[in-house]
Subunit: 116 residues, 2 copies
Amino acid sequence: MNEYQIEDEGCKEVIRGAHDAMDVLNGKWKIPIIAVLCFNKKRYSDILREVKGVSGKMLSRELKDMELNQLLKRTVLDTKPLTVQYELTEYGQKFKVVIEQLAIWGIEYRKEVTAK
Amino acid sequence: MNEYQIEDEGCKEVIRGAHDAMDVLNGKWKIPIIAVLCFNKKRYSDILREVKGVSGKMLSRELKDMELNQLLKRTVLDTKPLTVQYELTEYGQKFKVVIEQLAIWGIEYRKEVTAK
């Protein structure tokens, strides 16, 4: 057994857990969508504006997928015109700690890269 | 101003930081690759085996990309045959806290989904 083969169970569990998470969060857009919904429920048009670069078609597909996976909840409000509103479910809310850590890393990474 | 427009600066910074992070970590494979390298340096063949579903071509491309973005370091060891070894840089290591939070979420998500 060489040094590369030494892997404890905790390590494997982390790898598997991260894989599971990334399976649910596949694609380019789900993490940015959660980031945008982290602090507040939002209307479709707000999400479209705030998730930079996403197309309407792609956003609709992703939101549907995330609703099926119980990451977010869709509500149609009885306004004129109708308003469609999205918010994170309890599971989705729990992802906030990941987003926060990710953001801290992203901010630090930007600093390091722009300092060079 | 309605309730949807109320967003403080902290919120915007988190969204931007998460975006920055996801820009560097674009695609399906970089987060699983970091997860696999989190605990130890590894040989190319080990990474290929442990990152489930990745092709050799894709893995090489991703590793090169991550090396350019200073997330990992590549070392060629003078063995017979040559061994190529990858390890996380200091920045890459800092991503470990994100992976851990992601894994905790993934493990919990799996439990909730399989319990139903």
